[in-house]
Amino acid sequence: MNWPVSLPLLIPFAAGLLLLMKRENLLWQRSVVLSASLGMLLSSALLLRRVLTEGVAATYLGNWPAPFGIVLAADALGALMTCLTAVVGLTCAAFAFFDIDEARRRGGFFALFYFLLFGVNGAFLTGDLFNLFVFYEVVLMASYALTVLGNETAQVKHGFTYFSINFVGSALFLVGAGLLFAQLGTLNMAHLAQRVMAAENKGLITVVASIFLVVFSLKSAAFPIFNWLPGAYSAPPTAVSALFAGLLTKVGVYSLYRVFGTVFAHDVAFTHGAVLAPLAACTMLFGVWGAMVQYDIKYILAFHSISQVGYMLMGLALFSPLALAAGIFHMVHHSLVKSSLFLLGGAIEHKDGSQDLKKLGGLALRSTSLSLFFMVSALSLAGIPPLSGFFGKYGLVVGAFEGGNGWLVAAALATSLFTLYSMIKIWRLAFWGDKTPPRADSKADRPVRALLAVCGLSVLLVLGLTFFANPLMAISKKAADQLKNPQNYIDAVLQSGRPVKGVTP
């Protein structure tokens, strides 16, 4: 057993089990969540450090050798994403402690929360396509339950849509895995990458790849299958929305990067250039157009999640080292910024009892810290320099020009402008003006100060990303290199470090 690789999986799983117990005991729940969050942060940071110094790390469950047994493999991308899970999980769990009511907590909110993190980390670390499916189901099952936990009408309604569309997606995932197995005789991703390169009939593989494209773009809410996202992200409580926005679509995008970077890189001109690039442009534009006409902060932010997925897809579509690195950077940036924006929206709701822009107003006069926090995050989302959103977008634009895709640049810049417009709309309607909305709401008595402190932490992370953009870009570049040259990954999973009998590696 290779502990650094398996700990980011084991900690949230153990925490989920522990949190199922003593759900009425707030102290128990808090201490387990706190120690699990810190443990996840530490273990994923250790994993990232190890991967950066020693290269791709792999562990073989049950000591079965690689193409036959189940393998967990961490390259720089996977390790970076586990760090992201830990950070976003920490802020969202902290927010949830002040936001989630007792009924939900007794219903097992935090246990589901950690099972979700377990599934997410599993999806980031697995080296096997079928295991990716299984971890997807873990994530989805926890997210279905979190979506409807609380039993509000909107939650159940949107939960059913969310369930149906992901159920179909899972069925397609199975079909894709079956067809791929029939053609190549393996589901281990490193082994698949080898066999795809050696395969004779590459056309058939492209057909199977298109099934995976549908599945993963459904999960990452890419055009044209994004309609499920705004409802599912706005119905549950704020902490859940923030967690979903920070991590769930990222799992889909990560899978696209992994599968179309490591495995299906046999026909880049078609799969990436002709299919993914227009999809990325449409995702950016349609997402942001959806956001522009909304008047509810949660809906606006959810639609922005869609359009930002377009940028990440753009990085993959261009498939040059610079663009991939910028796309990975953007993934990290967007996770932090979007979860912080959702949390700020939740804080606004606690303060003024609503997230509807038509009912809000004058927040800038009444809460300086809230407006400062919001301004930093909103400008960062729009990509105003020197904030962190700028670096990723800059890399993508340069990458697109290098690849001769001027039209993608046009779409990306237009989306940025529209994003800025809709952030300014929130600012103008919610923060300016002198309207003081009635606070007559059941939620108004909860601790707004504590929520603001958590929001401050998340905004601090966004700012930190601005100051440490260079090291993060270096890690992203390394991850992009590993994706672009999968030979390291293949060697690490299939050959080196293969367990020797009786010796624990």
Binding site: F130, F133, V134, E137, M141, Y144, A145, V148, N151, T153, V156, K157, G159, F160, F163, S164, F167, V168, S170, A171, L172, L174, V175, A177, G178, L179, F181, A182, G185, L187
Partner: protein, 101 residues
């Protein structure tokens, strides 16, 4: 045999999507189940339908063509997950049905 299986898969997926897009809660649920069975059927087809390969039980001196056991394992996993999802789906539908009634 392969043609029959393909027709079965096509029927399950086609009818499943038809039901899913129909109004009515029960229709949609049945549609989802048909689609999930369609996916399982595809997996079965991936493990040799034709007669010939033996079950993968090794004997001394046997060098027969053995069937690949992995697709069966995949189906088992998929079925278990599908069962859990189905239970959740019924609970959700019950709640949704009460809402609309």
């Amino acid at each position: 045999m392969n043609f029959l299986a393909a027709a079965g898969v096509a029927f399950l997926f086609g009818f499943g999507f038809y039901l899913l897009l129909n109004p009515g809660l029960i229709n949609r649920i049945l549609g989802l189940f048909l689609i999930s069975h369609g996916a399982n059927f595809v997996l079965i087809c991936m493990a040799q339908l034709e007669k010939g390969p033996l079950p993968p039980l090794l004997q001394k001196g046997a060098d027969a063509v053995l069937a690949n056991p992995l697709p069966q394992a995949l189906i088992l996993t998929a079925l278990v997950i599908g069962f859990a999802l189905g239970a959740f789906l019924w609970a959700l539908a019950l709640r949704l049905g009460k809402e609309s009634a």
